[in-house]
Amino acid sequence: MTSSAKKKAKPRSVLPGFGLSLGFTVFYLSIIVIIPLIGIFVKTSGLTPEQFWHTVTNARVLASYKVSFLTSFYAALVNLVFGLLIAWVLVRYKFPGKRLLDSLIDMPFALPTAVAGISLTAIYAPNGWVGKLLDPLGIKVAFTPLGITLALIFIGLPFVVRTVQPVLQDLDNEVEEAAVMLGAFRWRTFRRVVLPELIPPLLTGFALAFARGIGEYGSVVFISGNMPMKTEIAPLLIMTKLEQFDYRGATAIALVMLVVSFLLLLLINYLQWRSNRRVVSA
């Protein structure tokens, strides 16, 4: 009897209007996200499976996936390490100009990506400020995969910093103090006490930066040099297909990128969920 009463009471949420807001959520998501994505599937379905396979496994297209996914991965990896460092400094230390630095982090969000691409190219081109210094050392940045990675690091940085920062801020000092009192040194405290808490937001930031990098077009086309088989990114190949009015071929490549990105994000989310659970249970 008590259990049935409990059952009755449970569905009532504290917040009212769940049905309405869920309805709105589904409607809104459909219009903004789901229907446009379905459009990609519909356009692609104009191709026969053979044509589809031929389009998406063309040597040049395969090379461009490699460039896109690898550079995004490396860029996200770099952001993971240095984003954490930046978030750490911004949360744990006080210094003049901190606020300014803090707001500077968001600039890559606001700046049109083409502007970022053009300025990065100007600086890292063989005759640019930084490129001039690197050129004698035999390091070429602009018009190589390194340049693409650089552009993606630039646009992906805020994702890691901004997901890690609040978690770091809310971290209980007492736990750390307890660890130190119990005899753990700084590095051990960081590794065993702080880092586990930070892994879920780090993974989220990594996933966001990675996903952003895969789809990035504006900042990359200027610095990559767009050489076929070498520095051509997949979004550029989509643009070249559109330029030939080949909508189906373009959406076919888009579809492959969409599916691969989705699987990767799913994997990262799974890892995040697992690490979350471990932290909670421990």
Binding site: N58, A59, R60, I118, T121, A122, A125, P126, N127, G128, F143, V221, F222, G225, N226, M227, P228, M229, L236, M239, T240, K241, L242, E243, Q244, F245, D246, G249
Partner: protein, 385 residues
């Protein structure tokens, strides 16, 4: 507690009020702008070239009555969807045309411009951008719009000279003093020469570049296609950066100082020299180039829907008149009218030119053979070829 709640609300309201004020300003300034434009146009007229003045003066003389009769005609607005390098040209031409139309028909006409990559602009029209006229880089792009039923199939016969009121060609822009001694196409395949050109897959201008090189190689090798392909392949081996558009390539060459030679539209090259000074760059005319014919067309479906056919057709027709051809030449496009061409003959040297129709069998043919997926351009980047 209550105070803390109020503060964000207040700032939000300020932001909203500010946004409204901004949009309000935009709406208010619309008609003002128009008035400003008309004023500018008439001013251009009085200060303009003598020929323009004479032509307009005549028109005004015969049409004073018409102006008085139909002074209350509703203002009309046209949308000209064009490609990147024509921005300055149409800014000047629109003023000229608005003035002409006012005197001819007593009607205010405002022409809005839209610029971007030629292919992207064509797609925008196909996807529903309500252009009255399109003025693009390639006949192929207008053909694509036509195939979707927006433009009647015979568009290229509608206006004189294949519906191209101006032409251009492909030239070499080199650094001052021409340090690598580049004189002709075969200098571009030499080792150690860096050539800057945009990607023919994404840029209309780059397709003209590529075809000019191909045509030259074909002539040199008595029509041997395999040798022509080897030549073009060697040329693109010397290309360190493939930008997506003509302006991008110009920036790479001019601002970033990359490369020894830029393959460019003649009008872009002349503009670069004029803007950046003749002390930095010079133009080299190769022994053979290609006649680039950027065509124009009325978007039949849209003008019939909007009722703007008469003014849209007049807009393109007027491009062929002497005052318009003057503006065209001043903006570094080659004029079609012999009298204007004669005046500007120092600016546009006479060189042998291939044409897309005679030497490449038209755009559809050239596109299929060279630039479509798996075409010759793709093959030169395919490993093992």
């Amino acid at each position: 507690m209550k105070k803390r709640n109020v503060l964000p609300l207040k700032s939000l309201m300020i932001v909203i009020a500010f946004a409204f004020a901004l949009t309000g300003c935009g709406w208010n300034s619309g008609p003002n702008n128009k008035a400003g434009n008309a004023g500018n146009a008439s001013q251009t007229n009085t200060n303009g070239k003598t020929d323009a003045n004479a032509a307009n003066g005549n028109a005004a003389g015969t049409d004073t009555k018409a102006t008085n009769d139909s002074g209350s005609k509703k203002p009309v607005e046209l949308l000209n969807v064009s490609y990147d390098p024509t921005r300055e040209l149409y800014e000047a031409y629109n003023k000229l045309f608005a003035d002409y139309w006012k005197q001819e028909k007593g009607q205010d006409v405002t022409v809005k411009q839209s610029h971007g990559g030629s292919g992207a602009q064509a797609r925008a029209v196909i996807d529903g951008l309500e252009a009255d006229v399109v003025t693009l880089a390639l006949g192929y792009d207008i053909d694509s719009v036509s195939q979707k039923g927006f433009i009647n199939p015979d568009w290229q016969q509608k206006f004189d000279n294949n519906s191209s009121p101006y032409t251009s060609t492909i030239v070499f822009l080199v650094r001052k003093g021409n340090p690598k001694g580049i004189k002709d196409w075969n200098d571009l395949v030499k080792p150690g020469v860096q050539v800057i050109t945009p990607n023919p897959k994404t840029s209309g201008g780059a397709r003209w570049n590529y075809l000019a090189a191909w045509g030259y190689a074909l002539k040199q090798n008595n029509g041997d296609e395999a040798k022509a392909q080897a030549f073009v392949k060697a040329l693109f081996k010397n290309v360190p950066v493939l930008d997506t558009g003509a302006r991008g390539s110009t920036t790479t060459f001019v601002q970033k100082g990359i490369g020894d030679v830029l393959l460019a539209w003649e009008n872009e090259a002349l503009l670069s020299v004029k803007e950046l000074g003749a002390d930095k760059f010079e133009i080299v005319y190769p022994s053979l180039s290609i006649l680039a014919e950027p065509p124009v067309a009325v978007v039949d479906k849209n003008v019939d829907k909007k009722g703007t056919r008469e003014v849209a057709e007049a807009y393109l027709d007027y491009l062929y008149t002497e005052p318009a051809q003057q503006v065209i030449a001043q903006n570094f496009y080659r004029p079609q009218l012999a009298s204007v061409a004669e005046q500007f003959k120092d600016q546009f040297p006479d060189i042998p030119m291939l044409t897309i129709d005679n030497d490449f069998g038209g755009w559809a043919e050239a596109q299929k053979k060279h630039f479509s997926d798996g075409g010759v351009f793709d093959q030169i980047y395919t490993p093992g070829s």
